[in-house]
Symmetry: C2
Subunit: 237 residues, 2 copies
DNA sequence: GTCTATACACAGATAGAC
DNA sequence: GTCTATCTGTGTATAGAC
C-alpha cells in the first residue's frame, strides 16, 4: 500500500469523523440546523488549526478566528461555549477515529512482521493526511486541563501499546529479537511523529511520504528481526 | 562515559554559558552591577522555563513571572526590554554552548563509530542536564519572529549535519552501510529529541538516561553497521 | 443564525518615588 | 536597583438588534 491508495481507503472514515464531531459536542452547540453546523464547524476547525499551528492556540485571538472564518465573534460563540471548549472539541475530534483506524489496520491472521509494517505505514499516512491536526494536538497538549490531558496521555499510551503488542507477538513467534519492546515502541513512535513535527525538514530533503515510511520500516526491521536475510518478505496487502 | 561523569565534565561550560548570557545581552540590560545581573538573570531564566513549560510562554503573564522570581514587574523590565526580547535571550542562551559541546565531543582521530556513539550520548546527556531549556526551545520555536526562527532552523540543520558527517565518514571507511545519511541523521535526531519531549513516558517505563542512550546506540548501530558482529568494540574514552 | 456594540478583566509596559 | 501605581491596548465573552 502506498499513500495515494491509503487516502482513498479512508474516505468513509473522514465522513463519519465529521458527523461524530457534531454529535459528540451537540450540547455545546446552540445552532440547530445540522447542515449549517456541519459547514461552519469544519470551517472553524480548519481555521483554528491554521492559525494555531502558526502562532499557537493561546496566541490566537477570537478576533483572528473571526477574520479567518468570516464569521463574527457572536456567531462563533454559537458553536462552542468558550475558547477552552473549542480546544477540547478539536483535540477530541480526530483522536477516536485515529485510534480506530490504527486498530482496524491490524489483521489478526497476519504475521507480526506484516502487522508491524502496516502499523508504521498507517501511522505515517494518517499524519500526512491530517498533518495540521496531528501537529496541533502534539503542540497544544500541555494546554489542556488536568482531566483532558489525562485522556490524551491514555490515548498515546494505548497506541504505543498496539505497537508493543505486535512486537511481543513477533518475539513469541521467533521472528523478532527478544527486547524491551515497550521501549522499542516508544522509539519507533518518535520516528513516526517526526514526520509531521518536522515537515519542513523532510520537504527540504525532498523525501516523499512513501519513501519516509519505507525507510523507517527498513530501519525498524534491521533492529527487530532475528535474521533479516532469512525472513521471507511479508505479503503486500 | 555515563551521565554522572558527563555532568562533572561540563561544569566549566555551564559557568561560561552564564557569563555569555550577560555579555551577549548587555545592551538590553539596564542594571549595572555584574553580580546582581548574574543572580537575577538566572532566576528570571529559570522561572520563565518553569512557567513556560507548564502553560506555554504566551500564556505566561509578566505578573506570573513577577510572582515566581520575587521581583516586581518594574524590576523585571530592567533585565529585558520586552517579553519578546526575553524569549529571544532565552533561546539564544543555550544554543551556542550546546553547539560548541557537540562539536567539541568529536575526536578527529577517533573512528566514526566511536564518534557516532559520543554524539548520541552527548546529545542525550545534554538534554537531560538542561531538560527545561531543551523542551522550551523545541516548543516555543514557532513563536519566534522570522529572523530568529531562521537562526534556530540553521542551528538544527547544523547539528543534523554533524551527525550526518560522521555517518558519511563511516561509509567512506567501510564501517557503515551506504545509505541516505541525511535521512538517517534526521531519524536519529527524532529519537534523541524524544528523551526530553516525552520525559513522563520514560519515567513511567523506569528507563534511566544511561539505559536510554545505550539502547538508542544499539538500535542505530544495528541499522548502520555493515557487519555488526565483526566490528570491534569502539574504545571507551 | 448572524450581526454590531460593548462590558470588563487582564495583558504588557512605564513613570516616578524610595 | 527595586518598588508601587497606573496607562493603554487587547483579550474573552455576551446582550440585544436584525
Amino acid at each position: 500500500m502506498n499513500f495515494s491508495e491509503f487516502q482513498k481507503s479512508i474516505q468513509h472514515y473522514r465522513k463519519s469523523n465529521a458527523k461524530d464531531a457534531i454529535t459528540e459536542n451537540r450540547k455545546d452547540i446552540r445552532v440547530k440546523k445540522e447542515k449549517t453546523v456541519a459547514k461552519n464547524l469544519q470551517r472553524i476547525f480548519e481555521a483554528t488549526l491554521k492559525i494555531g499551528n502558526k502562532k499557537g492556540f493561546q496566541a490566537m485571538s477570537m478576533r483572528d478566528l473571526s477574520d479567518e472564518t468570516g464569521l463574527s465573534m457572536g456567531a462563533l460563540y454559537a458553536y462552542f461555549t468558550s475558547k477552552e471548549n473549542l480546544l477540547v472539541m478539536l483535540q477530541r475530534n480526530g483522536r477516536d477515529s485515529f485510534q480506530k483506524i490504527l486498530e482496524d489496520c491490524i489483521d489478526k491472521n497476519a504475521k507480526p512482521l506484516e502487522n508491524l509494517r502496516k502499523l508504521i505505514k498507517t501511522h505515517i499516512f494518517m499524519s500526512e493526511a491530517m498533518q495540521p491536526w496531528f501537529y496541533f494536538t502534539y503542540m497544544e497538549g500541555k494546554n489542556l486541563k488536568k482531566n483532558e490531558r489525562k485522556i490524551a496521555v491514555e490515548h498515546e499510551l494505548h497506541s504505543d501499546g498496539i505497537l508493543s503488542n505486535v512486537l511481543q507477538q513477533g518475539e513469541d513467534e521467533g521472528t523478532f529479537k527478544i527486547q524491551p519492546h515497550t521501549l522499542t515502541a516508544a522509539l519507533i513512535k518518535s520516528m513516526l511523529n517526526d514526520w509531521y513535527l518536522k515537515r519542513w525538514k523532510y520537504a527540504k530533503l525532498k523525501i516523499s511520504v512513501d519513501e519516509y515510511a519505507d525507510y523507517v520500516i527498513n530501519l525498524v526491521e534491521s533492529f527487530c528481526l532475528t535474521a533479516p536475510e532469512q525472513v521471507e518478505e511479508a505479503v503486500e496487502s
